[in-house]
Symmetry: C2
Subunit: 156 residues, 2 copies
DNA sequence: ACGGAATTAGGAATAATTCCTATCTAGGAG
DNA sequence: CTCCTAGATAGGAATTATTCCTAATTCCGT
């Protein structure tokens, strides 16, 4: 799905298409390129401000909230002190493998769908809205680096 | 496992047992009773201050960090603006079903263990430290209440 | 082009978390 | 039991993320 299609859907949903919202959306699309890396509100704000310097944090947060309600954006938590956001396009459902040292993440193409089914059986009256499966640890690069630091410490 | 056993283990691990740390531990144990409800640092602080009024937030955070490193405490995120903590006793591994309205959680006895195996196969050089499986939505009680609100709105 | 409801900027307020440093203390050594 | 010191704490300030408030602006249907 492309930016144009999303804009069309938003218009259809009666969402006012302000330039600020379009820029937030653009930033989210940019984040989709290359390695998957959900962005913090602050990061998105910086991107948006390149074109609209006056944009306020409030606007970014409000826009992300609006998009989240529409199911267009998902929130994830990487345990790095802020919320992160990414596009939730249909067919792109995934989870994350997060490095606790460098904060970078890798997309996981697995989903514990069977668990979700069991959860719904376990609590039939609970209305499931979203779920998170996130694996935390240390990426190969950071493991290597901390090994180096350890060596230096010992040798000195 | 009881508080006494944990204290013994901490001593064995060379962790200084200050009264503040013991109170934090006690608060975490209290949180284990009844419905599982991971606590925020603020909530733990309030409990600890009942006995030690002068305790600082810093101490609670530092203590929780120490316990986390030891694997005694797990951090969870309920999307309510703060980190939450709970004891991670052996055999008690579980996940959470969280209501986005009232913030209460229910313990899930399922774990996507098979997914973890697949993750490790997918990224053999990644050192897995922890994982989170959390289901978000609306509990029966909150669904009922929002239905009431809707009715009122319509009828007036 | 016009009007009204929705949206925004800007700045202040709030809340969570961490930092700093002088002081204190747990627990091992004697 | 007392002494010593590495490690821990209090207290308050600083930082960071997020939300609130309100007057001014703007999208978009008519």
């Amino acid at each position: 799905m492309l930016l144009q299609d999303v804009l069309k859907e938003l218009r259809k949903a009666g969402i006012r298409l302000t330039p600020q919202r379009q820029e937030v959306l653009q930033a989210l699309f940019d984040g989709l390129q290359g390695e998957c890396q959900p962005q913090s509100a602050e990061e998105i704000l910086q991107v948006v401000r390149k074109r609209y310097p006056g944009v306020s944090p409030d606007t970014v947060y409000r826009t992300l909230g609006t998009f989240k309600k529409l199911g267009l954006v998902r929130e994830v938590n990487f345990r790095d002190g802020c919320r992160r956001f990414e596009l939730a396009l249909q067919g792109g459902h995934h989870h994350h493998l997060v490095c606790l040292r460098c904060g970078r993440s890798r997309e996981l193409p697995f989903c514990p769908a069977d668990c979700l089914v069991r959860v719904q059986e376990y609590c039939p009256d609970f209305e499931i809205e979203d779920h998170a499966f996130t694996v935390f640890g240390y990426c190969p690069k950071c493991r290597e680096e901390s090994r180096d630091v350890f060596r230096e410490t010992v040798e000195v």
